[in-house]
């Protein structure tokens, strides 16, 4: 099937099979930040933004992106750079495999709620699993970023 979408700001057209999932399509298009961590929509590693909303690309048909706008971390480097250094300063990046999905969902959180409480951060990011960090370092990083904006 032919689809047209806007990927990271660029209009693209592609031919995909009806059951190609968006994750595989995006990786094929060079968006290698998009990771597969499970097959059951549980880990959040494949998070991308569709029309600005965070979704799981592993569970979205590529054909459903037809006519929509998709952002991966490749397209949001600048917005991510605003805060990821604070997470690096905690050493909370660790193995990094969950980072792109976590960073994408954090972007979505901060767009929706620029000044979240710790509990709001935990709740919004609950669908992003991390097995290395124990989560608190990620939280400290985001908190330090938010504090730096207030200073």
């Amino acid at each position: 099937m032919e689809i047209k979408l806007k990927l990271n700001g660029k209009n693209i057209a592609a031919s995909v099979e009806a059951d190609t999932v968006l994750l595989d399509f995006l990786r094929e298009k060079g968006c290698l930040s998009v990771k597969r961590g499970c097959d059951t929509s549980n880990c959040g590693l494949c998070t991308v933004l569709m029309d600005g909303k965070p979704i799981l690309s592993c569970s979205t048909l590529a054909v459903r992106a037809d006519g929509h706008e998709i952002h991966t971390l490749e397209g949001l480097q600048e917005e991510a750079s605003d805060f990821v250094g604070f997470i690096a300063d905690q050493g909370a990046d660790q193995c990094g495999f969950c980072n792109p999905g976590f960073v994408m969902n954090t972007i979505a959180l901060l767009r929706e709620n620029p000044d979240p409480t710790d509990d709001e951060i935990r709740a919004f990011l609950a669908g992003n699993l991390c097995r290395c960090s124990g989560y608190d370092g990620q939280l400290r990083g985001i908190r330090n970023y938010l504090n730096s904006r207030k200073a």
Binding site: K35, T40, D89, G91, D93, F97, N128, C132
Partner: protein, 764 residues
């Protein structure tokens, strides 16, 4: 204890790869390998124990895009082990690439190589297999001397003697006694005997097992794998495939988590075999389901512990028996079990007069176990620490006071730990520090919050080792570049832990340069100096010391070259950060000039490789305290606060040590409260996906607080010991203790589910 001001050590610098990782750059196996590789898929047995009577691949091979399908008839007949261990491995050679005899639900029946995943999966459905079903050993308590043998074959081969006998389903066995165990037991005021059970938890690292195999420009097999053990993987493949090591190169890019799972070459042999057969690049990536059912999880263990003590709380004797379930293959079976005693009993060296530690490791028709952070110590400490808390509660003593009285202290000889001396031990200070920080006195009180909710706290201590003594080898190559910067090349594997960075911090400290001026590369068997790999809590301690040696040696060489340039004796010059100075003069030559000199008419290299090993494995120590809120009606346990104080010698990078600790604690919370492993009637784990195997989310782990007590380990780099594994050992016993305080019930099997708690209380 040595106090020293450092420039780069004990400093929280960013990980060298952090911005690459946080910005999603392509750095993992599946990102860095070409996309035209054959897709390798595995048809797995649905049965726990069966012989493949016949297998028909004709229809499957006709699927467009299928290149070939391999069965037991197509593979070499040399048995091997996939455990990443130093040769000769304690793990038995009990595997074939594909065996006609399949030994667990998930064992390999056929390997499919296809152009696309779709074609491979379509072919998988068309392979017709007839199985002769055999009775299966699914309960490890009945495995020993069961008439059904998991490994009846005659070519079972143990590379070293560990007390195994496959005709008894026995992989390893030992019995160690120190002192008059029964005599002292008879003198004790109180003797407790309890049995503890822990399950086959999955590491659940975010990146599943994955490996790519192709041929390099010399026609050699080139493996790019998400592995903690490049050198062991090369050796394993060499034996399994029957090709010389000189024909194999193994490399790791960034690794998406390991925790020990990738200390076993779980999937590497399959794409390697396909590449050899087809002459084409081949790639395998396990699904999450495969990672859960055919990975290398923790050894399920049942520990029976007898403890003798006096009414004043003095713990005099322990007798610990471990039954360990290695599953269908013996990887890490003979070794993990040892830690259940050796890394739990020494915690009570302060008072322990005698001990016995004995064990059996058995085969079953379940998923083969492997290495998982903690590696047996976790299981042993759950038993020992639970019982010490039970003893305290029985004697009406405070659970921290009984530990003060009995714990290991600095300078003591540890009979239960190969008579090693605790040269660096701040466990007593960890306890005091944690008690204050946590406010143990107040928070350990049992408080009724109304509506069935109880708040209280629990405590546990932990230890581990730093390396496998007399076995692990770490090496480092250090090179001076022409601009005065350095290249550090290692064979250890940074799997997210940050070892690349902390080793660079050591170089920066000793070469008196900035951490940014040290480039780190690892690991590649063609390039890296030999290293056992990143496991057994060895990288900071062993490879770190190799780095220290390399720095000292390189300084000497730099001085030799400089002395030549200044036309003086080596003794007359001194290394001075960016230059070498002729002592007592203003005459210097810059590192840049020295590096260039090394490239022109020189016989002295500006690079060196140094190797280290250690006759001892100094334990790090830790105290963990947890406050919970327990709902007596639903059985739900909420972690409110988990606080820990760790003695890892000196943390080279306090941030990274802290994150290691926090991550380990949360994994431990998962094992204690929500990660369960149950089996269907074929012995297949029911928790085969992240939908069913529930690792903690960020809403399940409460608040964490981690601090450090420094000690100085004389045999470690800058006084450092390990941190990576110990951190998982306290949550089990600490939470079980808190649950006891809230409910009056001891739970001796993990996980402790809300159902167990609620229903045991409802019975009353």
């Amino acid at each position: 204890m040595e106090h020293k001001e450092y420039k780069s050590i004990n400093k929280s610098v960013r990980k060298k790869d952090s911005m690459q990782l946080l910005l999603g750059k392509p750095v993992y196996t599946d990102d860095v390998t070409p996309k035209d590789a054959l897709v390798v898929k595995i048809l797995r047995s649905p049965h726990a124990n069966a012989m493949v009577e016949s297998i028909d691949t004709a229809a499957a091979k006709k699927v467009p895009g299928v290149v070939d399908i391999y069965t037991w008839e197509d593979v070499p007949q040399t048995r091997f082990a996939i455990a990443g261990q130093t040769f000769p491995e304690p793990s038995p050679y009990d595997r074939l690439i594909i065996d006609r005899h399949v030994r667990f639900a998930g064992d390999v029946v056929a390997i499919i190589a296809a152009e696309t995943e779709k074609a491979a999966l379509k072919a998988m459905k068309l392979i017709k297999v007839k199985y002769e079903l055999l009775p299966a050993v699914l309960d490890f308590r009945s495995a020993l001397d069961n008439p059904t043998l998991v490994h009846p074959e005659d070519d079972w081969e143990p590379p070293c003697e560990v007390g195994g006998d496959p005709k008894r389903n026995l992989v390893a066995s030992d019995d160690e006694i120190h002192g008059d165990v029964e005599g002292i037991m008879a003198q004790c005021d109180i003797v407790l005997e309890r049995t503890y059970h822990t399950k086959a938890y999955n590491q659940a690292m975010m990146e599943p097992f994955t490996c790519y195999a192709s041929f390099d420009r010399y026609g050699r097999l080139h493996i790019i794998s998400s592995t903690q053990i490049v050198f062991h993987t090369r050796r394993i493949l060499s034996r399994a495939l029957g090709i010389p090591k000189s024909k194999i190169r193994v490399e790791k890019p960034r690794i998406g988590g390991g925790f020990g799972a990738k200390q076993t070459a779980v999937c590497d042999v399959y794409p390697a075999f396909v590449a050899m057969k087809t002459g084409r690049p081949a790639m395998i990536t396990y699904t999450r389901e495969e990672s859960q059912i055919a990975g290398s999880p923790r050894h399920e263990m049942e520990i029976t512990l007898r403890m003798g003590a006096m009414n004043d709380g003095r713990i005099r004797v322990m007798d610990l028996y471990t039954l360990s379930n290695t599953g269908a293959y013996g990887e890490h079976g003979p070794t993990t079990v040892g830690l259940t005693g050796h890394k739990a009993l020494p915690l009570y060296t302060g008072s322990l007069e005698a001990h016995r530690f004995h064990y059996d490791v058995v085969y079953t028709n379940l998923q083969a176990a492997g290495a998982y952070r903690g590696y047996g110590a976790t299981q042993g400490i759950f038993a020992v620490e639970s019982m010490v808390s039970e003893l305290a509660e029985k004697l009406g003593m405070d659970a921290t006071a009984i530990r003060d009285m009995n714990m290991i202290k600095e300078g003591m000889v540890m009979p239960a730990y190969y008579n090693e001396i605790a040269n660096a031990c701040a466990l007593d200070r960890c306890m005091e520090h944690c008690r204050q920080m946590f406010d143990w006195e107040e928070r350990s009180k049992v408080r009724d919050m109304g509506n069935g909710k109880i708040r209280t706290a629990g405590v546990a201590m932990g230890m581990q080792g730093s390396c496998i003594s007399n076995v692990d080898v770490g090496s480092a190559t250090l090179k001076l570049s022409e601009d005065g910067t350095y290249n550090l090349i290692i064979g250890a594997a940074d799997m997210g832990t940050g070892c690349d960075t902390i080793l660079a911090q050591m170089v920066a400290e000793l070469m008196d340069c900035h951490v940014d001026d040290v480039a780190v590369f690892g690991a590649d068997t063609d390039v890296s100096p030999y290293d056992s790999g990143s496991y057994a809590s060895s990288t900071t301690y062993i490879t770190g010391m190799a780095v220290v040696k390399a720095c000292n040696e390189l300084k000497k060489q730099i001085c030799t070259i400089a002395a030549g340039m200044m036309d003086c004796e080596e003794e007359a010059v001194e290394f001075a950060s960016t230059c070498v100075r002729r002592t007592g003069t203003e005459q210097t030559v810059s590192l840049t000039d020295i590096a260039y000199k090394a490239q022109v008419g020189s016989t002295v290299p500006a690079e060196t490789t140094q190797t280290h090993t250690s006759p001892v494995s100094p334990p790090p120590y830790m105290v963990g305290m947890v406050e919970i809120e327990l709902d007596k009606l639903t059985g739900k346990v909420d972690i409110l606060d988990y606080m820990a104080v760790v003695d890892c010698g000196i943390p080279i990078n306090p941030n990274l040590a802290r994150i290691q600790t926090e991550g380990g604690i949360v994994q431990g919370i998962g094992h204690t409260l929500m990660e369960n492993v149950t089996y269907d009637r074929n012995g297949r784990p029911a928790e085969s996906s992240f939908m069913q195997y529930k690792v903690p989310t960020r809403q399940d782990m409460g608040r964490l607080k981690v601090e450090f007590e420094h000690s100085y380990e004389p045999t470690g780099p800058f006084g450092a010991k390990s941190i990576g594994e110990i951190v998982i050992n306290t949550p089990g016993p600490a939470i079980a203790h808190a649950i006891y305080r809230a409910t009056g019930k001891w739970f001796r099997e993990l996980p402790i589910t809300p159902e167990q708690i609620a229903m045991s209380l409802a019975e009353e």
